[in-house]
């Protein structure tokens, strides 16, 4: 895949087997690293990004020219200190920032996969991350950290690869996608597929991309990332341009303008088909559905966990995290859990939340002493 920006990449020539039973030939993973791996290779932290995130978690994102999505937390001297840690962040399988996904050229046909790309799962994403971590020569990670879909990945690590990691930090996440979450995702997917430019996913050759559909999907999703009180505080019923209603369908309210901006800026950096595939992967995720249920998923687990939830997050509410903790009580895991007071909704995990950052820093410091790095 030709990229408009520079990123590190590894290609795995052997076939990559997926949960669905299908295989991907020569699977690629695009990633960024920050800091240096120490001699003992004990200071590796894997950062797992959310649905629309990417590998540029720190510094400047070369595509958007904006700060990385977790630059507030990751960097020299920051909470996740790249002077101490070797931070790895990879673009998920199915993504559109360099890792193999629906916009990648299928080696069999010489054309972009489109909907011929196999449906993937969170488990598949994590399997590719494990391959990457192995390639980097890291036997055991210091920690796996992620919010939202990234949090799902951290739980998958804890459940399937518990010997390859010391500490797991799931933030604003869950062991499964709820019916309401699936419902919102389906509306987003339907919006994309209803766009005439989508052409059953075969839009890569044409000039017209399904931008309208993807923008609507993003607008819907964006509401679920905020809270009613945050919207009210930020926008209220304020009008965008004039003091009076326009009495037509141009943008009247500030909230309309804000959502439109969210939609239109998103389509410049994201692929519609990737959005379909990744939302589907999230919808399929349910650790409790596996044999033995959630309790079995974390059996004999002696990892250190630190869970975070946010009071106003209605997409991944605190009750979901508490369900995981109940299951972990039956294992030998060391579990910490904090519900942070915030009115910023689900997005709080990406924003300046001093309380959250302070506790996360405290947990990491405790782990530095425990793991002795």
């Amino acid at each position: 895949m030709k990229l408009k920006f520079e990123t590190q990449k590894i290609t795995y020539k052997d076939s990559f087997k997926l949960s669905s039973g299908r295989e991907i030939q020569s699977c690629e993973v695009a990633f960024q690293t920050y800091g240096q791996l120490n001699k003992e290779k004990s200071n590796g932290i894997l950062i797992c990004h959310a649905l629309t995130g990417d590998q540029f978690c720190s510094g400047i994102n070369p595509l958007t020219k904006k700060k990385g999505w977790w630059d507030i937390l990751i960097g020299p001297g920051k909470i996740i200190d790249t002077n101490i840690f070797f931070v790895v962040c990879s673009n998920v399988l199915g993504g559109c920032m360099g890792s193999t996904g629906p916009s990648t050229v299928d080696p069999k046909t010489g054309k972009q996969y489109g909907l011929n790309f196999p449906v993937i799962t969170i488990s598949d994403m994590v399997k590719l991350q494990v391959k990457l971590i192995n390639s980097l020569g890291i036997k055991k990670l210091f920690a796996v950290i992620g919010g939202s879909m990234g949090g799902m990945q951290t739980l998958e690590w804890a459940s399937r690869f518990e010997k390859k990691v010391n500490a797991v930090i799931p933030i604003a996440s869950s062991y499964r996608h709820s019916a309401q979450n699936i419902a919102f995702h389906e509306i987003g997917r339907q919006a994309i597929m209803a766009d005439t430019n989508w052409k059953s996913g075969n839009y890569y050759g044409s000039k017209q991309k399904p931008k309208r559909g993807l923008a609507v999907a993003r607008m819907i999703a964006h509401i679920t990332y905020l809270s009613e009180s945050a919207l009210q505080r930020k926008f209220g019923r304020n009008l965008q341009n004039s003091k009076n209603f326009s009495f037509n369908f141009i943008t009247d309210f500030q909230i309309e303008s804000y959502l439109k901006h969210q939609g239109s800026s998103f389509v410049e950096r994201f692929d519609s088909n990737s959005y379909l595939y990744i939302t589907k992967a999230m919808d399929y995720f349910d650790l409790s559905f596996r044999k033995g249920g959630l309790t079995n998923a974390f059996k004999n687990n002696d990892l250190s966990f630190c869970f975070f939830s946010f009071t106003s997050d209605w997409l991944f509410p605190t009750s979901e995290t508490k369900t995981i903790i109940k299951s972990l009580n039956t294992s030998n895991a060391k579990v910490s859990f904090v519900e942070v007071k915030s009115d910023k909704g689900h997005d709080a995990f990406l924003l300046d939340e001093p309380e959250f950052h302070e506790i996360l820093g405290g947990f990491i410091e405790g782990q530095i002493i425990k793991q002795g790095i």
Partner: protein
């Protein structure tokens, strides 16, 4: 390290053996757990209601979850711990009987400490002033106190007898946190520490 600990917590920590697995319910800012982890290599867990308390604990590297002992203890499987500690908290529980029975279910033994409401100064103050008693251990006004289920030493031992709970050890302390003899303990003791288990 021990110098920073409250005297009753020092006595509780002396009851804990090395390498135990301990659950501290209402662990506050984690002073007791932190001490046990460092001095006795105890495998520690904590439950704390207040966010500031949990924050302090997690910052100390302790495994503590934000939760409510009134409702969350039922989620722990039988015998997950060697000792469960409930220090100066039982009087603030909505269902103290339920909490105590859960403690001796999830741990082999429970260490429970509480202010003795039959302490002679409390009796004296209440007798002469006719006002709800207050002291260092019970500093609240009647209308804003979290202590809704106060009891005396006699109440507690009667409760244990009624419920068939075995008292393995009991310590009675004066206001300075020094150990007292059993003589007239229900009037002389300012607070009590009990170590109980299933019969």
């Amino acid at each position: 390290m021990k110098k920073n600990l409250r005297k009753d917590l020092i006595l509780i920590s002396e009851l804990i053996n090395s390498n135990e697995k301990v659950l501290d319910i209402g662990c506050g800012d984690g002073n007791l757990l932190g001490n046990l982890m460092k001095t006795k290599r105890v495998d520690c867990r904590g439950i704390e209601l207040s966010q500031t308390g949990v924050n302090e604990c997690v910052k100390k590297g302790l495994s503590v979850i934000q939760g409510d002992a009134n409702f969350d203890l039922k989620d722990y499987p039988d015998r997950s711990f060697t000792t469960a500690i409930l220090s100066q908290t039982i009087q603030a529980m909505i269902y103290p009987d339920n909490v105590i029975e859960n403690l001796i279910r999830i741990a082999e033994r429970a260490i429970i400490s509480f202010p003795n409401f039959a302490y002679w100064k409390i009796r004296r103050d209440f007798f002469f002033s006719g006002l709800m008693p207050k002291n260092v251990a019970l500093p609240f006004e009647w209308y804003d106190t979290p202590n809704i289920h106060l009891c005396s030493i006699k109440d507690f031992t009667n409760f244990c007898e009624k419920k068939g709970i075995k008292i393995n050890e009991s310590l009675y302390l004066n206001e300075e946190g020094e150990k007292l003899s059993d003589f007239m303990k229900n009037s002389r003791a300012y607070q009590a520490i009990f170590c109980v288990s299933k019969k």
